[in-house]
C-alpha cells in the first residue's frame, strides 16, 4: 500500500492523522477491560498501528514539511496515550471495585462458628488457688505441699491433740484400712504440712500450704467431703500476734483489693493459742450488708493463731527462742463467695457448662 507514490503534503497527513486519532479515541473508550485496552493500545499507538504507518509517510515529504507533519502525528499520539492512561486507570478502579465486591466476607461467620478452635479452662479452684499462691509469694512466702494421706501423729497428735482429745471431734475423719486401726487417715486439714515443714527445716519459715483435704461430712450447699484449703505458717524470732493480724490484713488488701479489711476475734483451735477467727469485709457488698454476708457486712474466712508451744515441742522447735503464727481457710469456700456459687457441689460435677464459665 505504501508503495503507491501519491504526492504527500502536510494537510493530507494531518487529515489522515485526525481520522486515525478519532478512530483510536472511539476504540479506547470502547475497551471493556484492561486486557481489551492493552489490545487497543497495540493497534492504536503500537509499532504496527495506523499512526506508525502514517509516520513512515513522512519520508515522502519535503524536508521543510516533514517537521510540521511530524509534530501533528506526535501530538495525536500524545493525546491518545494520555487517553489510554486515563482509560486504564478507570478500568483498573472498576476492576478493583468488582474484585472487592466479589471477595466480601462476613467475618462473624467465622467468629460464631461452632468448630472454631476453643481454649480450655482452668478449674475455678485452680484459678483461686493460684491467685492466692501468687498473693502470698509476693508477700515473701514459699509454697509447700505434703501428702494427702497422713498418720494420726501428723494430723492430730503433733498438733496438740493426743488420742481421745475432745477437740478431735471438731473434724469428722476418714480413716484408711492401713496399719493399726485409726493410724492412717486422709488429712482433715493442711496443718500436717506445717508439722512436716517444721520437722524438716530450721526457722525462719514463711510458707503457705495449699492442698486437698477430706472430712466425713455429708455434702451440702456449703460443704463437700473433698475440699481444698490453704494454710500459712510463719516461724521466726520475735513473731507476734500483731504480726499475725498485720499479715492477715496485708493479704486481705492484696487479694481482695482496697477497701476490704480484716478483723480477728477469739476462737479455739488446739494447735494455736491465742486463737482467732478472721473475717473480711464482704467482697460482694463491700461491707454494706447483703445476702452473702447475712447482712453483717463481714464474711468469716478462716482460723488463725499463734503456734501453740505444745506443737513446737512436738516438732523440736524451742518456743523460748522462736514464735510463730498459722492461719488457714478454704479455697473452695472463697471461690464460692467470690464467684457467687449457690451450691458448692457443682465443683465436683465437672459439668463443662460450669467449667467453661471461668
Amino acid at each position: 500500500m505504501t508503495s503507491r507514490l501519491t504526492p504527500e503534503n502536510t494537510p493530507s497527513i494531518a487529515a489522515a492523522a485526525a481520522a486515525v486519532e478519532a478512530d483510536g479515541r472511539r476504540r479506547i473508550e470502547a475497551a471493556a477491560d484492561l486486557a481489551a485496552l492493552r489490545e487497543v493500545e497495540r493497534t492504536v499507538v503500537g509499532k504496527r498501528s495506523e499512526l506508525a504507518r502514517l509516520h513512515t509517510r513522512l519520508a515522502r515529504l519535503a524536508p521543510e514539511e516533514r517537521r510540521d507533519a511530524g509534530a501533528v502525528i506526535h501530538d495525536a499520539r500524545t493525546r491518545l496515550q494520555e487517553q489510554l492512561g486515563r482509560r486504564a486507570a478507570a478500568l483498573d478502579a472498576e476492576e478493583r471495585a468488582r474484585r472487592v465486591a466479589e471477595e466480601r466476607l462476613d467475618l462473624t461467620e467465622i467468629s460464631t462458628h461452632a468448630w472454631l478452635p476453643r481454649r480450655g479452662h482452668l478449674h475455678l479452684v485452680t484459678q483461686t488457688r493460684e491467685e492466692l499462691e501468687d498473693t502470698f509469694v509476693a508477700m515473701g512466702f514459699a509454697v509447700a505441699e505434703g501428702p494427702e494421706a497422713e498418720t494420726d501423729w501428723y494430723n492430730f497428735q503433733a498438733l496438740n491433740m493426743p488420742p481421745a482429745h475432745p477437740a478431735r471431734g471438731m473434724w469428722d475423719t476418714l480413716y484408711l484400712r492401713l496399719g493399726e486401726p485409726g493410724q492412717v487417715l486422709l488429712r482433715t486439714h493442711t496443718s500436717p504440712v506445717q508439722v512436716r515443714l517444721m520437722e524438716s527445716r530450721e526457722p525462719p519459715i514463711y510458707a503457705v500450704m495449699p492442698g486437698r483435704c477430706y472430712r466425713r461430712d455429708t455434702p451440702d450447699a456449703r460443704h463437700t467431703p473433698v475440699f481444698h484449703q490453704i494454710e500459712g505458717l510463719v516461724v521466726d524470732r520475735g513473731i507476734t500476734f500483731g504480726d499475725l493480724a498485720g499479715t492477715i490484713e496485708a493479704f486481705t488488701g492484696a487479694y481482695f483489693g482496697a477497701g476490704i479489711h480484716s478483723r480477728l476475734r477469739p476462737s479455739y483451735f488446739p494447735f494455736t493459742e491465742p486463737s482467732a477467727e478472721f473475717e473480711v469485709t464482704c467482697p460482694i457488698c463491700a461491707g454494706e450488708g447483703c445476702r452473702t454476708c447475712s447482712g453483717s457486712g463481714w464474711i468469716e474466712l478462716g482460723g488463725c493463731g499463734m503456734v501453740d508451744p505444745n506443737v513446737f515441742e512436738a516438732v523440736g522447735v524451742d518456743a523460748e527462742v522462736y514464735s510463730g503464727f498459722a492461719f488457714g481457710f478454704g479455697i473452695d469456700r472463697l471461690a464460692q463467695v467470690r464467684a457467687g456459687l449457690s451450691d458448692m457441689r457443682v465443683l465436683l460435677d465437672n459439668d463443662v457448662r460450669f467449667l467453661t464459665q471461668f
Binding site: L122, T151, L178, Y206, F241, D243
Partner: protein, 825 residues
Amino acid sequence: MRAPLSWLRDYAPLEAPVDDLAATLSALGLVVEGVHHVGGGLGGVVVSKVLGIRRHPDADRIRLVDVDAGNGEVAQIVCGAWNFAEGDLVPLARVGAVLPGGMEISRRKMRGEWSDGMLCSASELDIPEPPGSADGTGPGLMILPRGLAEPGAPLADALELGPDVVFDLDVSSNRPDALCMAGVARDLAAALGEPWAALSSGSVLPPVDRSVGVAPITVEAGDLCPRFVGTVFEDVPLGASPAWIARRLTLAGMRPISAVVDVSNYVMLDVGQPNHAYDLDRLGGGGILVRRGAPGEILETLDGVSRTLGPEDCVICDATGGAVGVGGIMGGASAEIGPGTTRVLLETAWFQPMAIARTGSRLGLHSEARVRFERGVDPEVAPWAVERFAALLAAVAPAASGGRTLRRGPSSDVRDDAHMPAPAVVRVRTARVNAILGTDLDDGDVAGLLGPIGFRAEAPEPGVHAVTVPSWRLDSAREIDVIEEVARLWGYGRIERTVPAARGGSGGLTGRQRDRRFVRQALAGAGFDEAWTSTFLAPGDLERAGLDPAAVEVENPLDRSESILRTALLPGLLKAVKFNMDRQGVDVRLFEVGTVFFLPGEGRVTPEEVEHVAAIVGPGPATEGAGAVRGGAGGAGGAGAVRAAVLAWSYLAEALGISGVSLSAAAVPGMHPSRAANIVAGDGALIGAVGEVAPEVRAAYGLGGRVGYLTASLDALLGVARRRRQARDVSRFPGSDVDLAFVVDERVPAAAVLATLREAGGELLEAASLFDVFRGGQVGTGRRSLAFRLRFRASDRTLAEGEIAAARQREIDAVTAAHGAELRG
C-alpha cells in the same frame, strides 16, 4: 447458748446499747450469731383458740381455720401450717398488726377465701422456739401451753413478754464456763469495766434444817466421779413454775415442765452446774451409790432407750445398787420425779471430762449435761448451785407448793481430791506477754486485765506474775493460756498490726510448682477444660476400667461408692465425660492434675502418693471422624478421638520442651490393644501412655463412642531432659525441599522412619516431617506409604545441586536399609 439480757443483768448492770453488747460478746470470742428482740412489736397479736379446721375449696396446701379471737368473735384464717389441732391455743396476728419482721397484717383473699389475720410461728414473732417444737419438717405454728390465757388476751401479756433481748451465742468448746448466764455476764462485765456480783439469795434462802437428814452417798468410782454432793429437800413444790421462770427457760431454749424440773434446768443455765433431782422415795435404800457399770448392764434412760453399759461407764445407782442414771449424761426412768414427788435428792456432782466424752460418744447420747461435763464444769460450783436451787425452789413455793413449806437438809459432799483438778498457779512473765502479743503492757495492765475474770495475779517479783487460775477455767493451765486471756480482755482489735520482715528470702514457687502450672496451661491451651474428679472410687471402678484392683480402702466411708482411693485418674474422668454426655455435652475434653494412691511400699504405713496428669477426649462428631490417619490400620476408621489425645501429648511435649521421648506401641491396661502406646523417656523410663480407651472399658462406663486418653506421672514427665534455652543461629541461605515416600510394613512406626531420616540427614537436614500416609492401591496389604518432606539447608552457603542429590540418596539408603522400605516412585 441463748442468753436473755434480762437474765445476764442478774449479775451486772450491762446498760450499754444492745449492739455494743453484741459486739463486745463477739470480741470476747462468745460469738453472737443472732440477736432476738422479743416482747416488742407484738401489739395486735393475741391468744386464739382453734375451733375448727376446714379444707380450702380451691387449694390443697392451705386450709381454713376458725379461731376464737376473744369475746366470742370467730375469725376465719387461711393457714399453711399443719402442726396444730382443734382446741390448741395459737398466736393470732389480727388485721392491722405489724410483726417484728415488719410485715403488716391486712385482710386479704387467698385463693378466693378471706383471711382475717394470720396465725403465727415463733420465728415470725421473733420468739426463740422451744426445743422440740421445730422438728425440721417445715414451718409450724407456735403452740401455746393449754390454759395459758383466755382467747383474745394479748400474747405479750400472756407470755409475760416484756421487751427483752436474747443473744444467740456460739461458745467454743474450750469455754464451758460460758455455758451459763453467770459466766457470760462475768466476761461481759469484765470487758465493759462493770462490776460483776453473784446474786444474793438473801432471806429467800431456806436455812439448813438438820431434821431433814442426810441421804447416804457412796462413791465407788472416785476416778470417774471425783465429787458427789447430795442434798435432800422435803415438801418440794408441786405444779408448774411461775411465769418468769418459764419465760426465762423458754427464752434460753428450754421447755418448762414442772417447778422442780424447771428449777433444776434453771440452775444449770444460771451457774453452769448440771444437776439431777431424784424422787427420794423412789430411790431404793434412800441413798446413792456411784459405781462402774457391769459388763452388759442395761439401763433405760429418760429418752426411753435401753442402753448397754460397761465398766468404762459411770453409773448412778440407788443405795441398793439399782442403776438410776448414766452419770453426768442422762438420768434413768426409775427414780424420775413425778407429780406426786414431795422428797427430792439433788445431785450436784463433778465427772471426769474424758470419761464423759467416752461414754457419751460410745452410747451416742447427747444432753446438755454431757456437753458441759465433757468440756469441764467448775468443780467448785456445786455448793453455790445447791444454794441457787434452794433459793429458787423457795421462791417458787408460794405459787406451787399448795401451802407446804420447803425444807432443806444439809449437803453430803463426797469428794476424792486425788482425782479432782488442782487449782493451777501459772507463772506469767509480762515480757513474754508482750513478746507473744506485740503489745506494750506493764505488770499492772496484765494483772488488771486478768482480775475481773477471776484470774488472781500476784507479783512475787517485777515482771513476773503468779496467776491463780479460777476453778471454772480448767482449760487454762499454762503461761500461753493466760496470755490468751490477756489478749482477749485487752481486745484483739487493739493490738497494733505489724508485718514481719520476712527473712531468709525463701519465697516463691519451686521449679516443680511452676512446671505444674505450665502443664495445666498447656493442656488448657490445647482446648481441654480442667476437671477435679473425686479422690474416691467405688469398688469395681478400677476393674471396669481394666486396671489392677489393688487399692487403698477407706475404713469408714460415707458411702460405699466412695470406699476406694483412686490409683488412676481414668475412672473419674470417664465418669465426668459420662456426666457431660448425659447432659448433651458435645466434644467434651477434660484434663486433670491430681494425686493417685498406691498401697504402701515395704516398711511403710502410708500410701504411696503420685501426682498424675491425664487428659480425656470424649466421643462426639469431631472425634468419630477419620482424623489424619486415613482408614486406620485394617480400615477400622474412627481415629479422631485417639488423634486428639496424641495431639494433646505432642502439644504438651513441645510446650514443655522435653526431648528424647518416644511413643512405643504397647499393651496398656484399660487401653485399646492396637491403639495405645507407652510414652518412654530416652533412658527407657516409663512416663505414661496415650491412645484410645479400650472398647469394653468405655462401654462399662456407659460411653457409646470412641474415647481418647493421655496419662502421665507428673514427676516422670517433669524429670525428662528439657530443651536447653540456648539460641541457635538461623541460616541466611536458601534451603531445598525434598519429598520422599517410602512403603513400609504397618508395624514399622512412622516415628522410627523419621528418626532414621534425622540421623542420616545430619547437619544439613533442617526439618523433617511426615505429611501423608497412603494405604491401598499398589502399596499392598500390611504395608503403607509414608511421605516425608525434608528441608536441607547449610548455615554458610547455598547448597549445590550435587550436595542435595547426595543427601537425598543417603536418606533413601538409610531408610531402605533400616526398615526394609521401598522408595515409592
